[in-house]
């Protein structure tokens, strides 16, 4: 008899897995996830946030196993769902999601023939699962194809896909609890057992979909609120936004301005197997150490990563909401103008306030309303009532009362400023606000040529 394998996890207790799953966990390509932090440099705000993509992959896998045991009859479906969730983050690079933005920025999309909306990290994940020798040795070609199909939504029935990606997916079910625990906050806490217990497969003729029993409405309210609070308090925390921006800027400027060749190669995805091999050799610590090495030339990358490692962060020198500007044309330009508007703003702020424009970062941040958090692009949660299936926001008394789906959005500007004391900080921040408001009004003036028709960028949660 084979001994049952188990790992002790701070969130879920014992995580059991089968021998073939353990073989995957033991591969170097999976073990590297131990060296990629789940929340990049959130440790600069929450020192406990040292958890990794490895822990989260195991946690999501555990939740998937519980959900599959409850909802799925087929052992093949169960096996594939467990494998897909175990491998869902296998393509993460240094600093997790932060790398994705840089990969997309430097990939030559036309040459790669990437479909519109297709992201480079998704392509990388698929390539790793389909072709990496560690996984090819352990999974059949058919299994690898199906795992990829489940992850990109191109294969599998609605229930299987909803377990992996959707408003009730096991990814969120794990990361809210895990991030909350490691950050030392309580915002992401909800009753996981109650949620899992109330998941149902609803069958209506040939239709099958993942739904929630009516008794699960309150725990879903808790789950949605957990998402909202984690977004506002952790994922969109000011210091986290600044540190992410510094990583992106450090790497981008390292490639474009400092002309660091190895950095350019690391982030210019060309679709080759060599690229994947090289990409998989990097993690948070190695990238930081390499940039800070003596033989890396002095420049923006080194300056920004040195600041990050010493926690000498850029500081927020400006913050505004749309309602701060009465003129709708100015509002439209600030929040809908293309990237060129932000670049021009950074240059003008740098020039007029005496900062190096490359170290001034203007960024738009969006946070979805709590009602909008109840759904994802994959749809809303269906609740099974005695009168038939209903949408969650029509069944929840709490969410029914939230009529306005207001999205919060704001513009923030960060710069390398130091203050002597609180008094100077207050004074200079007032000055920054007035000066930058003037700069924005000038740039956003209808006569300015910066009002283009390209889509506005922004961080959305």
């Amino acid at each position: 008899m084979t001994a049952r394998l188990e790992i002790r996890d701070p969130i879920h207790g014992f995580i059991h897995r089968e021998p073939h799953e353990q073989d995957i966990i033991d591969t170097p390509v999976f073990q590297r996830l131990r060296r990629i932090k789940q929340l990049a440099l959130a440790t600069l705000v929450y020192p406990g946030a040292v958890h990794t993509r490895f822990d989260h992959s195991l946690g999501a896998f555990h939740v998937a196993s519980k959900v599959a045991a409850k909802l799925l009859d087929s052992s093949t479906d169960t096996r594939l769902v467990r494998l897909a969730v175990l491998l869902h983050d296998i393509g993460h690079g240094p600093f997790s999601h932060v790398s994705e933005e840089i990969l997309d920025k430097f990939a030559v999309r036309e040459r790669l023939r990437l479909e519109p909306g297709r992201q480079v990290h998704e392509e990388l994940t698929e390539k790793i699962i389909l072709n990496h020798p560690d996984l090819a040795r352990l999974l059949s070609p058919n299994e690898r194809e199906h795992v990829v199909g489940l992850l990109n939504g191109q294969w599998g029935d609605t229930v299987l896909k909803s377990i992996i990606s959707g408003p009730l997916d096991v990814d969120k079910q794990d990361y809210l609890l895990r991030d909350s625990y490691f950050c030392g906050v309580k915002y992401g806490v909800y009753d996981l057992d109650r949620l899992t217990e109330n998941l149902r497969v609803h069958e209506d003729g040939e239709d099958r979909f993942l739904a929630l029993s009516h008794d699960g409405v309150h725990v879903l309210e808790q789950f949605v609120l957990a998402r909202y609070y984690m977004t506002t308090q952790v994922y969109r925390h000011r210091v986290r936004l600044i540190s992410d921006e510094m990583i992106v800027r450090g790497i981008s400027l390292g490639i474009v301005e400092d002309k660091i060749d190895w950095l350019r190669r690391l982030y210019t995805y060309d679709g080759s197997a060599d690229f994947v091999t090289e990409y998989l050799a990097w993690n948070d610590e190695r990238l930081t150490a390499r940039i800070l090495e003596q033989d890396t030339r002095e420049g923006y990358a080194k300056e920004l990563f040195r600041r990050l490692s010493e926690r000498r962060l850029l500081k927020r020198v400006f913050f505004c909401r749309p309602s701060d500007f009465e003129d709708p044309e100015i509002r439209a330009r600030i929040f809908q103008g293309g990237k060129e508007f932000l670049t021009a703003l950074e240059a003008a702020v740098g020039r007029q306030l005496g900062f190096d424009p490359h170290l001034v970062a203007a960024t738009r941040v969006k946070v979805k309303s709590v009602r909008a958090q109840a759904a994802t692009t994959e749809g809303q949660v269906i609740v099974l009532t005695t009168n038939g299936p209903r949408y969650f926001d029509q069944e929840s008394s709490l969410f029914k009362s939230i009529d306005e789906a207001i999205q919060e959005q704001f513009l923030e500007i960060y710069a390398p400023v130091e203050y002597k004391d609180d008094k100077e900080k207050k004074r200079r921040r007032r000055e920054f606000y007035d000066d930058i408001t003037g700069i924005i009004k000038g740039l956003a003036n209808p006569q300015s040529k910066l009002f283009d028709t390209k889509d506005a960028g922004g961080n959305e949660a």
């Binding site: 979909f209 309602s323 709708p328 509002r331 969006k366 979805k368 909008a372 209903r390 028709t453």
Partner: protein
């Protein structure tokens, strides 16, 4: 054209308001199909029919910028077909009308085209959101499967998108698609 400009023009060409989220999405779908823009707006199969998260996100953004108003109308009843029991109505605000003028100036051809397509839909009997939804589902199935289909086959294929199209609703859907030039019966 960015999604937010598209939504502003769509609302403007709909006399400044659209009643219901589903109607907005489906009008957006047909207009974008006839303009050849549906792919760039990322329409996918959703419970109510083809749905664009980009349009949804643009609406949310326009609301937060104060360019459109959203009003909720509750009916307190539930449709057998699972359609909205609560309706979200959208209207251009005064600031929104000002911005529309700027957008129209920069996108004159697109605005004309949107306006002309909405006129065609109006001539086809100004379909409500339920009719448009079934027509959109039928067209989405035909386009995705890339082949001519008999009515029964289309109903069957729709199920692969988790859509139910009642036979009676399909008749009206097909007629609507023919009237706007998106399908031909043989």
């Amino acid at each position: 054209m960015r999604p937010s400009d598209f939504v502003l023009c769509l609302l403007d060409a709909s006399r400044g308001s659209i009643q219901g989220r589903t109607l907005l999405q489906k009008r957006a779908y047909f207009v974008s199909v006839l303009m050849g823009e549906d792919e760039s707006l990322g329409f996918t199969a959703h419970y109510y029919g083809p749905y664009s998260p980009m349009i949804d996100s643009a609406v949310t953004q326009l609301k937060s910028l104060g360019f459109i108003d959203e009003a909720t109308v509750g009916f307190g009843t539930v449709s057998d077909e699972g359609f909205e029991v609560k309706r979200y109505d959208y209207r251009l605000t005064d600031d929104g009308r000002r911005i529309v003028e700027v957008v129209k100036k920069a996108n004159q051809d697109e605005w004309q085209r949107i306006s002309e397509i909405l006129g065609r839909l109006e001539k086809a009997g100004n379909p409500n959101y339920v009719e448009l939804s079934f027509a959109a589902k039928a067209f989405f199935v035909l386009r995705t499967k890339k082949k001519a289909m008999k009515r029964e086959e289309l109903i069957r294929e729709a199920k692969s998108f988790d859509w139910k199209i009642p036979a009676a609703s399909l008749e009206r859907a097909v007629s609507l698609l023919e009237q706007v030039g998106l399908a031909r019966s043989s």
